[in-house]
Symmetry: C2
Subunit: 320 residues, 2 copies
């Protein structure tokens, strides 16, 4: 067990309130008044979740977006956020960060409600923490990772692999045409979760989560939480034009896309009877939904590529 896994296991023993959902979901769900509040707290750290030379406004965007992505996965409409900000002696960087923060809180309609600043020693990596609060629609159950049932289809709400490829391009490990470079870097730096789409999907799904660490590891987590088996058809994973024109579209690239993190789209399980409703939601929200696999009895994750079994890679995704 890694230090982090051991630590989280110990935290779990403390977080016994039902609202904590066993620390096994993307967010906590607290009853307040006659409503419920979805609560999530994600931190991002320089060198782990963003690059040292990423523009400060995109760091702010990513901080807000990764938290909004958790709200989207729980079908919660953003209500507010609070920020812990490390002040280093770099007012120019701070000013650009604030521009990005303002842009992000407007874009996602998530008012900044408060927070704290802390002094940060010179030279230590920047680390930001954000808490986001959202409210699910009245009367709709807040989807967990754990409700998928045998017979469900697995769906994705957007292309995968772009952010991972964008990171590789920014690091100089991959090369591509300038217009693709811009698209892919943007996908790494400025994820675009869709909370209103998540809220529209919530009444129709059995399980939902956001894809933050890679489709494979997140599908494995959904299957484990639901005590079912998941099959992902790699050939059905949606890939962007920028991705395909940069690296191609054969099995190794699809495995790369499925194991790269930072997609921040939605992964959900829904029964086939929901197909027509999902189609209407996709049209209404101008956001394609992609069937990428299915849920079966049993345990674990298995992969197909054009109907042939594919061995699981040793590393399913990115764990930060």
């Amino acid at each position: 067990m890694t230090t982090e896994a051991a630590f989280i296991a110990a935290l779990r023993a403390i977080a016994t309130a039902p609202a904590a959902r066993g620390l096994a979901d993307d967010a906590a769900v607290l009853d307040v008044g006659g409503s419920r509040l979805v609560l999530t707290m994600d931190a991002i750290v320089e060198g782990v979740h963003f690059l040292r030379d990423d523009p400060a406004d995109s760091v702010a965007w990513k901080l807000v977006a990764t938290n909004v992505s958790d709200l989207a996965a729980k079908g919660a409409v953003p209500r507010g956020c609070l920020l812990t900000y490390p002040l280093a002696a770099d007012p120019d960087w701070d000013a650009v960060f604030l521009r990005g923060l303002e842009e992000a809180v407007r874009h996602f309609a998530i008012p900044l409600l408060g927070g704290d600043t802390v002094r940060q020693p010179e030279g230590s990596p920047r680390s930001f923490s954000l808490v986001a609060l959202g409210e699910p629609e009245a009367g709709v159950a807040v989807p967990s990772r754990g409700g998928a049932r045998s017979g469900d289809r697995l769906w994705l709400s957007g292309p995968v692999g772009d952010a991972g490829l964008g990171l590789a391009v920014l690091r100089g490990e991959r090369h591509t045409a300038p217009e693709h470079r811009a698209v892919l870097a943007e996908r790494y730096r400025r994820p675009s979760p869709r909370p209103m789409l998540g809220a529209a999907l919530a009444p129709h799904v059995h399980a939902m989560m956001d894809v933050s660490d890679g489709v494979l590891i997140d599908a494995a987590r959904l299957a484990a939480a639901s005590e079912v088996a998941a099959v992902v058809e790699l050939g059905q994973l949606p890939l962007s034009r920028a991705f395909v024109e940069t690296v191609g579209d054969s099995l190794p690239e699809r495995l790369f896309a499925a194991g790269a993190g930072d997609d921040y789209c939605l992964l959900f399980a829904a029964p086939p009877e929901a197909d027509a409703m999902l189609e209407r939601i996709a049209a209404w929200h101008r956001n394609s939904l992609y069937p990428v696999g299915r849920v079966m009895g049993g345990r674990g994750l298995s992969l197909l590529y054009q109907d042939d079994p594919v061995p699981l890679p040793g590393r399913l995704g990115f764990q930060h």
Copy 2:
């Protein structure tokens, strides 16, 4: 303007939702489902808010307690908290921290709901962030810093100066008898806010806040937010036996007590008509309340000592 003041001013321009209270209060107040939720986020940093060799369990306690203190100041009963935890390669320290965390969330009845772990580079100072949520009593206005009126009395809910003196003792700057040392160190490391007392006081106060940076600076903030003048009678500040037996009880020591931080008691303004009710609340909660000054027309803070004016010290308190 300091970097921090400039940064917070810029944040304020973004945090325009009424729930944010202009970032000028101890907490945000969000309407949720017919109720309200009080939200606060405080971070603590090694070398700033706690000492490097403070026991890890007391660091956890302090992290929870400083946030609960903000809830207490808003009359909010704790509902839950979320934690951002920096994982360094020190599982022993982590284990002791978790013991303290468990003890604190039980003591303050504030369930741990979630959070995030982040990798922390070796050797960088530890930094923790916590968000606490609380719910005020139905129908009771959430007191702000800004409601004090001319004619109000100023009150404190506990002794001041102990934590500041405890820090000085731990640093070896002051010396005292072993039994006092233990008391004072404990007051620095393990503040004991009283949220149920805060909730009982809330309906009867015009303004309330917690004393985190020192009575003088916090009274000046309350007066500024309320657009009134505050007078503090230094001779009335409650001092503990450990404090008095360590440093004495003359004007310089009282100024020290009034300018030291980390007291985490409540400072509030209430009309004289509330005196009898305050007495009953104090008896019920077994917690003395101390009248320490008054509110007048005008602006600013002034000090008295045994009825004589005392010039304001250059540094009113501790700003972290």
